[in-house]
């Protein structure tokens, strides 16, 4: 069958919804990576095997949906029962029969699976009432957790491809670009360049061939929103990509997916094939002159491919070395043709801009950073997961209202945004509104949306060393400032973290950083010193402690710390059996002692101690 008009889309939608109307209840099982790792597939299978044997009125296995990521990965596997929105967390296979019996066959709510608000200690039944969700505004993630990502009809039933139909049949490419510009949408991949302006520059280049590419490489460690969108709502990405293709005159597009994301590859591939079957990709889409097809290119693990010219080389099957950018890729991109490259989240925002209008979108967020942003809220925060919030919300609201504060109520120290190109912001910046410009002004950046929360047990010298090490390994090695400069920067950080630092090293690092920023060929090098510079700016005293006092205040840098058992030790002997190096001795109910000669500072004793009596400093 081929869908050729908006009317036919509505027909598909009606059929799907009519089918769904048979069910009194629907069960949404989160099958994002986090929940799958915790056994979500086994739960789906259990529903299937029980429902094969048992008939329930108004309910069949078809009413059980494997959906994309709900974002609250910390609490997975998640099971939601619609229409009430009953929200069960940490569900196990053995719970399924009970859930079917009580919550599906009748309307009983099973208390023990409900989420307990850590602040009020109250059980919460419906997920929209959970603080983690209630402060969010989901636009790019609008379908995640609501639809079955491998079913194109589910997407269409939720209004999918109506925007593409509208664009192709009622708007000129120029109108489309104007609308995107009016929405104020800025690229969600890093720099925050205006999407409308990028599309305009590409469309203005005269050429027989234009390309559109969706960047799903997501190299930033600590960010997984693009993965979740590709896994949980691949069609919104394709629809956005098709709209972009129409706007700039492209006939061919690519989705560049990290090979480490096998499920994303499978779901994107399925979505592309389904679109081809339904005529939503291919020749004369919606009976217009617009012809467009999409291919998947799999990334092979190179952070530098976040740089557009490197990514395009990788799509062409070459080594991902960036090209000097005095010619922009919108002019000379893939195969030297004008190319628009945006990331997954950016494209996922496009369809809804055309559904609800650019003015609606521009009304969300701040004046210069419109709309919402997805963040992966991780690290030492209580509620980790994927969240989407309007731009302009403060860091404090994100970390404390949505994130529920720091694990074990330890003191907040810093939040890292922007991945290896970003920086760490201290407590004094917690009331900073989160948008592209204010993050950059304060020495960090938006990046693709990783937000890593750090507490007093996170060492900032170690964080700077970590990111610099990452970049040394990821540098393509083409230009000298990046290849040799970051290497030397890392050496200096190692020296400091091992207690060999000298006072002059800080100056040396700052001077070297300045050259790396100014002289590197691409963004990887140019922004590479950011984690170091931002930690030097806000946490200089920690560097001084390492250098002058040969001390790591956070208790992280191995050469500068010792493990000691405090007098509160209950003598339970758990640490003794945990220590593989036989460094701990002691008798039952007596305070144990660590032999510093044998201790390798591996941390096994701390993990084993239930009374928090091992002091690391």
């Amino acid at each position: 069958m081929c869908i050729t008009s908006s009317r036919q889309l509505k027909q598909v939608r009606k059929e799907f919804l009519d089918g769904d109307a048979r069910f009194e209840k629907k069960v949404m099982i989160c099958c994002g990576t986090g929940c799958l790792a915790n056994g979500a597939q086994e739960i789906v299978d259990e529903f299937d095997s029980i429902l094969r044997k048992k008939r329930i009125k108004g309910f069949t296995i078809e009413a059980v949906r494997s959906t994309g990521c709900h974002g609250f990965c910390e609490q997975g596997p998640l099971v939601i029962i619609e229409p009430r929105g009953t929200f069960y967390t940490k569900v196990k296979v053995k719970d399924v029969a009970d859930i079917i019996e009580k919550s599906i066959r009748s309307d009983e709510v099973i208390d023990k699976h409900l989420y307990t608000d850590p602040a009020t200690k109250q059980k919460i039944e419906r997920y929209p009432d959970v603080a983690f969700f209630s402060h969010q505004q989901r636009i790019a993630l609008r379908n995640l957790g609501k639809i079955a990502p491998h079913n194109i009809k589910d997407y269409i039933a939720n209004g999918g491809y109506q925007s593409l139909a509208k664009v192709l049949t009622t708007m000129t490419p120029d109108d489309v670009i104007t609308e995107v510009s009016k929405s104020g949408l800025r690229g969600r991949g890093g720099g925050g360049f205006s999407a409308g302006r990028k599309w305009r520059s590409c469309a203005d280049v005269e050429s027989d061939t234009h390309y559109v590419i969706c960047n799903g490489d997501e190299g930033d460690p600590g960010a997984f929103m693009d993965r979740s969108i590709m896994e949980g709502d691949p069609h919104s990405v394709l629809e956005g990509l098709a709209i972009a293709a129409y706007a700039v005159g492209a006939k061919e597009g690519f989705v560049y997916v990290r090979d480490e994301y096998p499920l994303a590859v499978v779901h994107m591939q399925k979505a592309i094939e389904d679109c081809r079957k339904e005529g939503l990709l291919g020749e004369n889409i919606f009976e217009t002159n617009f012809c467009f097809d999409v291919h998947i290119a799999r990334g092979a693990g190179a952070f530098v491919c976040g740089e557009s010219s490197a990514l395009m080389k990788s799509v062409a099957g070459e080594v991902g070395e960036p090209r000097a950018k005095y010619v922009r890729s919108v002019v000379k991109g893939l195969h030297d043709q004008p190319t628009v490259l945006n990331n997954v989240e950016t494209f996922a925002n496009i369809p809804i801009i055309f559904e609800k209008g650019a003015d609606w979108y521009a009304g969300i967020g701040t004046k210069k950073s419109t709309g919402t942003k997805v963040f992966s809220l991780v690290g030492k925060v209580r509620n980790t997961g994927l969240i989407e919030v309007p731009m302009g919300i403060t860091l404090r609201q994100i970390i404390f209202d949505i994130g529920g504060g720091i694990i074990d109520d330890r003191p907040f120290k810093a939040v890292q945004t922007g991945g290896p190109s970003g920086g760490c912001l201290p407590e004094s910046k917690l009331d900073l509104p989160v948008d592209f410009d204010s993050l950059t002004e304060n020495g960090s950046m938006m990046g693709s949306g990783g937000m890593i929360v750090m507490d007093d047990r996170t060492c900032m010298v170690d964080v700077a060393k970590y990111f610099t090490d990452f970049l040394v390994k990821e540098s393509c090695g083409k230009c000298v400032p990046c290849r040799e400069g970051l290497y030397q920067l890392h050496k200096l950080l190692v020296k400091i973290s091992e207690g060999r630092g000298e006072e002059s090293d800080i100056d040396r690092m700052e001077q070297l950083s300045e050259v790396i920023v100014n002289a590197s060929l691409c963004g990887l090098g140019q922004s590479g010193p950011n984690p170091l510079l931002s930690t030097l700016k806000y946490f200089r005293d920690e560097y001084t402690a390492h250098i002058r006092d040969k001390r790591c205040p956070a208790g992280v840098c191995r050469e500068l710390i010792t493990y000691n058992i405090t007098d509160e030790c209950t003598g339970c002997m758990a640490c003794i059996s945990a220590c593989a190096y036989h460094a701990i001795t002691g008798q039952k109910k007596k305070v144990h002692v660590i032999d510093q000669e044998k201790c390798t500072k591996c941390g096994a004793c701390v993990a084993a101690c239930r009374f928090n009596t091992i002091d690391v400093r």
Binding site: V378, T384, L386
Partner: protein, 151 residues
């Protein structure tokens, strides 16, 4: 017994025969054989009419390719930022000493390969270890070595 790599031509044939397919062909061959034997590089170069030097360049540039045989069990420690903050370096040390391998090495009997990978996108369940595509999240240092026993 010498391993034969007779599936390589079929894998190559599944893709469009142009340079743009190079990375994906190498990925598929690696999925089949767990690494890229020299035959993979020479045959792919010949089939796609890409110089062998370029194939070598590509196969050594990207992280996911291995030119050395890897173990039957591939243990990947995520060392992404979220995992690092939650102590993945301690877990890596633990696994390194248990397996007596450094990250990137393979045991002589080809049983284990230990890899440190930067972010597998499962940050909410940090720290994470993946053993042959099975994710183990929210790991504690003293539990990491036990993962190996179970297998």
């Amino acid at each position: 017994m010498k391993q034969t790599f007779d599936k390589i031509p079929d894998i190559i044939a599944k893709h469009p025969q142009n340079a743009g397919s190079l990375i994906m062909i190498l990925q598929d061959i690696q999925k089949e054989y767990n690494y890229l034997p020299p035959e993979a590089l020479t045959q792919t170069a010949a089939a796609l009419d890409v110089p062998l030097s370029k194939v070598c360049s590509v196969s050594t540039f990207y992280n996911s390719f291995s030119l050395k045989p890897r173990g039957r069990k591939i243990v990947r420690v995520c060392v992404g930022t979220a995992c690092h903050i939650r102590g993945s370096n301690l877990i890596q040390q633990q696994l390194e000493s248990t397996l007596n391998l450094k990250a990137g090495e393979t045991s002589k009997d080809l049983e284990y390969t230990l890899e440190a990978v930067a972010c597998v996108g499962a940050c909410a369940m940090a720290p994470v270890v993946i053993i042959n595509d099975k994710y183990h999240g929210s790991l504690k240092v003293n539990k990491a070595a036990k993962l190996l026993e179970k297998k």
